[in-house]
């Protein structure tokens, strides 16, 4: 037993980095996250600053990726837009996991009618085509990035709650948990210490595999006009604003569109690689 050496960690990372394609994807994900966090430092201009005389100008020293229809710098809007999109995705993920944990844990641990009720609710939500329900919720609450986040979280928790419940139930049967119960440990402690710690890890990983889909959902609702309002920058909202100029200045569409595509692709690749690394028997 070597001291201070965790055999699991290097294996995961080396697995991820072994395949060149996946390595690139990991790099892109890291880059995107850094850029999102550091947007205020990296952006050359204020994303809302309009310089009408320079509307539609091609890439130049002043505007590295060109300017949009109101003379705003595309690079700055891309960086701040990525911030909005990625942070919202993170928020959706956090909310989804939080709700799923509460629901899944309660249902799995207590069983009985608590389980039946909660799972019925989850089934109900799963019965709706998610995008339509998200559009309906966001549309009803009002066009606002926060409402988009809420809508996607409401629509997204059910699947994870079911999975977590399953994991909790099987975990509960474990001998050490039975022992804790027999010893009279309080339920909170059992749930927190024994069950949650063992299930939360796989849970978070599972959810992370879906970040790509969450990003698509956020950008999609923004594209329909439901999220960030002008002058805010967000990738889907930028697509929405680029539509009237589709033919004359397609770069307004292609810049945010490529960003979304590359980001989602990278997250999906990393997710696939993670899944392969954690579960070598899976044939995906």
């Amino acid at each position: 037993m070597l001291e201070g050496h965790d055999p699991a960690r290097p294996r995961l990372l080396s697995l991820l980095l072994r395949d060149p394609v996946t390595a690139v994807a990991v790099g892109i994900v890291a880059l995107a996250l850094c850029a999102a966090v550091a947007a205020p430092l990296l952006a050359p201009h204020d994303p809302a600053a309009q310089q009408l005389e320079h509307a539609f100008s091609p890439p130049s020293e002043r505007f590295p990726l060109g300017a949009d229809h109101l003379g705003r710098d595309m690079l700055s809007r891309l960086l701040y837009g990525g911030r909005a999109t990625l942070f919202s995705a993170g928020l959706v993920l956090a909310l989804t996991i939080a709700v799923a944990v509460v629901v899944g844990l309660s249902a799995g641990y207590y069983g009985g009618w608590v389980d039946a009720c909660l799972m019925r609710l989850a089934d109900l939500l799963l019965a709706f085509p998610s995008l339509l329900l998200a559009v309906a919720i966001a549309g009803t609450l009002g066009p606002n990035l926060l409402n988009v986040v809420l809508a996607l979280a409401v629509v997204g928790w059910a699947g994870y709650a079911r999975i977590l419940r399953g994991m909790v139930m099987s975990c509960r049967q474990e001998e050490y948990v039975q022992a804790a119960v027999a010893l009279g440990a309080p339920p909170r402690r059992i749930m927190g210490r024994h069950i949650l710690c063992n299930t939360i890890g796989p849970m978070i990983v599972l959810a992370s595999l879906d970040v790509g889909a969450i990003i698509l959902g956020i950008a999609g609702l923004n594209f329909l006009g439901l999220g960030m309002q002008p002058p805010g920058a967000e990738w889907g909202a930028m697509l929405h604003a680029a539509q009237p100029h589709l033919q004359t200045d397609p770069q307004l569409l292609l810049v945010p569109g490529t960003a979304i595509f590359v980001a989602v692709l990278s997250f999906n690749l990393v997710g696939d690689a993670l899944r392969d690394a954690l579960d070598p028997t899976s044939t995906d």
């Binding site: 019965a127 709706f128 085509p129 697509l239 989602v264 692709l265 999906n268």
Partner: protein, 311 residues
């Protein structure tokens, strides 16, 4: 089989009731006064008086408590009356029925493409692992899952309708109108089905019975294609059920971009003008289609799988 169907049907009814409750709650939570909106629609340009609004509220029973209103709406819905659109004054049920075919055609064609393209690719990829076929299909599957439907739709319009002028950009009515919307919508579905078929085939091919069959002397193709596929088809059937949800959701985007008069676009337009009876009706209807599709898939699955049939 019969008992299973009966049990699933009962549960289906339960889910439908739940859906109707969620649908109703959605619009009950919404801001604005339906009576005011209705009056304003009938006399555009004028401000409805407070008395008129109050009278209409009483007439429509809007002052009753929520559960009463819900039951009233539910009663109407069961009989096929989903209320009247604020915008057009026409019955919602009739408007949805008129738009159903466009959405179903789009979804059906996309599903057909997904199955027709995704399944063969998935099978070949599984049968010839680590070949270029496998690599190509994995790449395509990944791309299909990553590209936003709306972006693909806009790009298709840009290239094929505006620049090359080959295909129509909006509307419905002929097969040509269907090509671009289907291409946009089918990408995601095809990717999903491809991956699932491949995974499922790979798993099946590892099963002992397959090796047994090949030992018995049956030709290789016969073994893989026939025996393997039969068993691999099961998860694909399930996937089709799940995919229909994504199809209906993606149809919303595609119909909006391509201006196809389907239920998806109808719902989105209603959301933007706050036409609540329509939002309620369209969400309910779409969810029902999804649930019924899954129900049918469930039964199909149960019927195909001999293990379950005799359980």
């Amino acid at each position: 089989m019969v008992t299973y169907t009966a049990r699933r049907f009962v549960s289906l009814v339960g889910v439908m009731l739940g859906i109707s409750a969620v649908s109703f709650t959605l619009t009950a939570l919404a801001p604005g006064d339906p009576a005011y909106s209705l009056l304003h629609l009938q006399q555009p340009g004028t401000e409805p008086s407070a008395e008129a609004v109050g009278a209409l509220r009483a007439e429509l029973g809007l002052n009753d408590p929520a559960p009463v209103r819900y039951l009233r709406w539910l009663g109407g819905a069961v009989l096929g009356d989903l209320g009247v659109s604020y915008r057009s004054g026409q019955p919602v049920a009739a408007e949805i029925a008129a738009r159903m075919p466009a959405t179903l055609i789009l979804a059906g064609t996309s599903l057909a493409v997904g199955l027709g393209v995704g399944m063969p690719f998935g099978v070949f990829a599984a049968v010839r692992p680590r070949s270029w076929w496998d690599a190509v299909s994995r790449v395509l599957a990944l791309l299909g899952a990553s590209v936003p439907t709306y972006l693909l739709g806009l790009l298709l319009i840009l290239v094929f309708a505006a620049r090359l002028k080959l295909l129509p950009a909006f509307g419905s009515g002929t097969a040509r109108h269907l090509i671009l919307p289907t291409a946009a919508l089918a990408a995601g579905i095809t990717a999903q089905i491809m991956r699932l078929t491949r995974a499922s085939m790979l798993e099946t091919l590892r099963q002992p019975f397959v090796r047994t069959a090949s030992v018995k002397g049956l030709s290789a193709t016969r073994v893989t294609v026939w025996h393997g596929l039969r068993n691999a088809a099961l998860p694909v059937v399930t996937a089709t059920g799940l995919a229909s949800g994504h199809l209906l959701g993606g149809a919303v985007m595609v119909e909006t971009i391509f201006s196809r008069e389907g239920v998806g676009k109808y719902a989105v337009d209603a959301i933007f003008v706050r036409d609540y009876p329509v939002i309620q009706g369209a969400v309910l209807y779409t969810a029902l289609v999804f649930v019924v599709a899954n129900f049918a898939v469930d039964l199909l699955y149960h019927w195909i799988d001999p293990r379950l049939r005799h359980a």
